[in-house]
Symmetry: D2
Subunit: 365 residues, 4 copies
């Protein structure tokens, strides 16, 4: 660095000699320069820079979450980096506003020079999906063969290697499963919660019997019974196992209990950060879905119902991945099983005490 002039520090630091010389519009090379191709190139370069950042943060978070125990000090970087991924996905979504200034006719003018280059070949995006927890079997395939057939050998290898490491989904599941307060001493959250749920349904039944008659009452009682059965399906380990097998639940039974415990008692000191993690996870899942959705819409705007660049089936394929490639819908599904606060079981003093700070001499409520 010694020979660097003071004024070169900024450009040197940012590698601008590489960054600003990496744009080679093919329409120019082909002798039919299309004004908008530079935007198209740089737009995707910005995507790839953000993708690199997302992978970097994901790697750190997964490593911290995957240890045998997670040091509580780690909750700060974990929530910070997950929150950063949230903000980056917001950018990848909103920056499509820039690409939408390109008239479709302008895209046609350089599209023929793109050859088989396609966003489906973005190894970093595939890695993000894999590291988040998208499974190979869950992926929609564009045509025949495997999704990574159009990746280069190095990228294929990187994906294969990533598939052997813990994903965010897996590390989240095992971290949740270890939550000590769900079953501590004599306390069993699941038992307490099931009792509260029964109280809620009893209340509903009595209210229906007091207010309704005849067929209306019958229908209402049937609806209440269906609601009750829905709750029972998560209380019962066998039913949950069956649901997992059928792909209706992906979270393990233990993780599901802990996630619900955290959602309900989110105000307890030790649960505030875990609750932030669950919210971050939902935000990431939502934003990835929203980004996929906008991506599908810009493709539809630019090429209509044509085959996508690179020979993919384009808009329909992308639109299908919006819902089918989601990874953390189970965290959203938790809300199905919430009951009003006034009916929630109070935490025993020894449980809430364990979740408080040491400096607090007094027992919490």
């Amino acid at each position: 660095m010694t020979a660097t002039k003071p004024w070169d520090q900024y450009g040197d630091y940012l590698g601008l000699d590489k960054i600003l010389t990496a744009q080679h519009p093919r329409s120019t090379a082909a002798g039919h320069p299309a004004h908008d191709e530079l935007l198209f190139i740089q737009f995707h370069q910005v995507y790839e820079l953000w993708f690199k950042q997302i992978l970097f943060e994901l790697d750190d978070v997964i490593t911290r979450l995957s240890g045998d125990t997670v040091d509580e000090h780690d909750m700060q970087p974990i929530t910070t980096y997950l929150g950063r991924i949230v903000e980056i996905f917001k950018q990848t979504e909103s920056m499509v506003d820039v690409l939408e200034t390109m008239p479709p006719q302008s895209f046609v003018d350089f599209r023929e020079y793109l050859g088989t280059a396609s966003g489906f070949q973005s190894a970093q995006f595939r890695l993000i999906e894999t590291r988040l927890g998208l499974e190979r079997k869950q992926r929609l395939c564009v045509f025949h063969g495997e999704f990574d057939d159009n990746l280069c050998p190095a990228s294929k290898g990187a994906i294969a290697q990533a598939e052997t490491r813990p994903t965010l989904f897996q590390s989240l599941d095992s971290w949740l499963s270890r939550t000590p307060f769900v079953n501590l001493g004599d306390y069993t959250f699941w038992k307490e919660y099931r009792a509260a749920v029964h109280v809620m349904f009893d209340e509903k039944m009595r209210a229906a019997q007091a207010a309704l008659l005849g067929d209306t009452l019958t229908q209402e009682l049937e609806a209440i019974e269906r609601g009750k059965q829905k709750f029972e399906s998560i209380f019962d380990e066998t039913q949950h196992a069956q649901a997992q097998k059928e792909g209706r639940w992906r979270l393990s039974w233990k993780a599901l209990q802990a996630a619900l415990f955290i959602t309900i008692y989110r105000g307890e000191p030790v649960l505030q950060a875990p609750y932030a993690v669950l919210k971050n996870i939902m935000d990431i899942d939502e934003l990835l879905a929203r980004w996929r959705f906008r991506h599908a819409l810009i493709v539809q705007r630019m090429v209509g119902m044509s085959m996508g660049s690179g020979g993919s089936s384009g808009y329909e394929y992308l639109m299908n991945t919006v819902t089918s490639h989601r990874i953390f819908t189970d965290v959203f599904a938790l809300s199905t099983y919430l009951i009003p606060s006034r009916l929630l079981p109070k935490l025993p003093a020894e449980i809430s005490g364990a979740m408080d700070y040491r400096y607090n001499k007094k027992e919490t409520k």
Copy 2:
């Protein structure tokens, strides 16, 4: 106004005595005040204010577009008001960020007091859909019966009345159909464009024959033939009529031609504003779809897979409307039929001349 004190002018002007006293949290009335209900109420009140504005702008635009001829001076307010609807829909989408600060457990605490109140009863939103051009037969039904069964008689009447008036889709279609330059004197755009398309496919065929052999060549030639047939289906009036009947196209044959003409020759002075209208229409269609998508996601976050408030089927229903309730996908589909600029037929001098300004003495190229 004479009795109004100077300092009351602002509040008087904005009707703040009504606006700021229209919040009545039911959880408070029920004796179990839930902090987040005020947000829930005001959030939906903001929605309804924006909806009123959208209806007001839509009404003006449709009126202007529906005349026998559209005064070119009207293109300024038309693009301004459509652009405003775009910005409003951006707000209705982004403001969901505020509602996402509500923990699902907090929603449960006042949800039981909402009774049958449901966003499905928003008469203004239903009117927006109808006025844009969503048809009754196109609507997904929540259960049985008609979509407007849960609207009050006055709102049902308003919808029924709106169904007798021109929609944005209809007025757009007839306005496009009247575009004079598509067939003017000896000039027939469709004939010229078809010839250019044939040149493109001949070029592709020759390139394939020069570069490929055997099965690869056969496959490529078949793909080219399929592409050609796709174009023929819009050039041929009978095929288009069939496509309309089967719901694959909604735009009339004449409107489709004009829309493609405008998309291609968007730089001609008289086409710059119409092109802006087409872009605005795509933006509105996209943003309404994005708003539906976020709405579905926040419902999933708040109630999981539960039945929605008001007895609706919730998340799945809303997610299904995202694509099935779209109205202007035909404008996006136009891009399927674009060809590179270098192959586009040049406009005859009398056509481009007619599309220029009078003050311009010289003939445009």
Copy 3:
């Protein structure tokens, strides 16, 4: 509610009979209907709804922070509601995009009917400023007299009453001042930190002496000495008192120490939520400033350098408030006094232990 038809529930719940009938464009009443006045009215009604929500959340947060002790369980609602205010301010800023679709000429067409109505009369906005901690003496005055001279007696009274209650700034300051870990047993954070700062400056001095000569060295040593004095000014109670008197610091000496402690040791379990509070406070301060800035810009766009509506001095006044009405710049100023992590004093075991959770048997590092 018994007489309400099912379909009226939604409109009833949201008070739509009030909300949607509170728009009375004066240009229409005057016989010169201006299309854009409805937007202008509803835009400000949305502002006022969001303002009401901000006041509601602020009130809750200040109450929780103002107690003699703050229950750690309260950190969850405190950060949630502050985070919500952040999101609302983002909306009030971004919604200006909608108003920018109004051509200035359209504003002129109804501006003459606004009389003395002016945004300066928004009692709720004035209350937000006061409750956040903007002091009467700090306010720029539009002309002569007091800022609230153009508010109605009831609003003036509400402001006066708010001035007798704790503000967010005050409750933040006293809450910070009570942070127990800053001085606990033998441990005095300020002493430890001062020592670490000295080590940093010694390091810098030695590096300068090893690398530089002559005048360059002299200048560098002077710069280092200035840096050192800057730090000393916060370590020394008398100097801080003087700075407070001169308005260079607003935070009390104790609060300043605690805020720096929290910023530095933000990973300690008990400090994670307080750090989130400090970040929320900076976000709110930034977003309020950004909203003021956009508000000044839209006023400049609509009326140029004219006197604002209501006789105020318009753009310049608003632009001046952007920086002069900021309340929490002290929290930003903390960053002036940070040193690299590798130089930070390690926390004694009894301090970090007290800040951890009870369930954690092992002593944290």
Copy 4:
């Protein structure tokens, strides 16, 4: 390209071998890896990619606007590319959300390794300012010397060269000055407009005299007289020349007249695109100011009141440039001189006719 494997097309096309290998965190090189430095680097790389795009679009727009006459067909790309710059500046502003996830303490951990690297050395940003029209004499200097002293010789040369070429401000001014309709045949816009302004002030005077008495009347009449004089200052060529000399106006007298003409009669077909240009220019000026503002705020958040990296004076300098480096405030100032539409002079038939399309046989009103 022949040797490229299909799967390498995407990476090859985007130059990912350069883009994704241009990150070299110095804290890692120094043996104290700071997690957040990668974000810091990539964040600024994204900035530079967007800057390159802005320069590319600016160059095209200036070239088109700088010809002796501007082909009306060029208005389409001009408004498209200006609109694109608007969207890019929105991104450069909103992406600060990502950087705000970096705790100030984390920045301190690698700041010491940045040496004299500083955003002030971004040659591309300086070029954007210059090409937009920021003049050397208008620039705030950080210390002593010229603003480009800390740029490398090549960048200094690029700036110097840019200073010899037309800027966006200059090309806008001369393009506006050539607007033919402002003075056409017997028609002189300025004369007509001045007469209408006088009618407005006469009306105001009569209204005051009818409604007010004594001192109030005197004061009101004085205020009206001041308003009148303000208008006279733009009608009078000598006064405008003086204002230009004193830096109160930057637009030439002819450009000012044309800009007002376009603002007022924006609905005339030939003025719709020029009006869009004026709106784009205001949007760009506003967004650049907003970006500067956020940049100042993030600097304040990260380093407080410290000297900025690279030895600059940091936050205060940046905050000062927010208003002092604005370039197109004259376009905002136009709104000062608007009058209600009902008082606007009607355009003579030959003027409005000239501004219409040739195909329109009927004379427009």
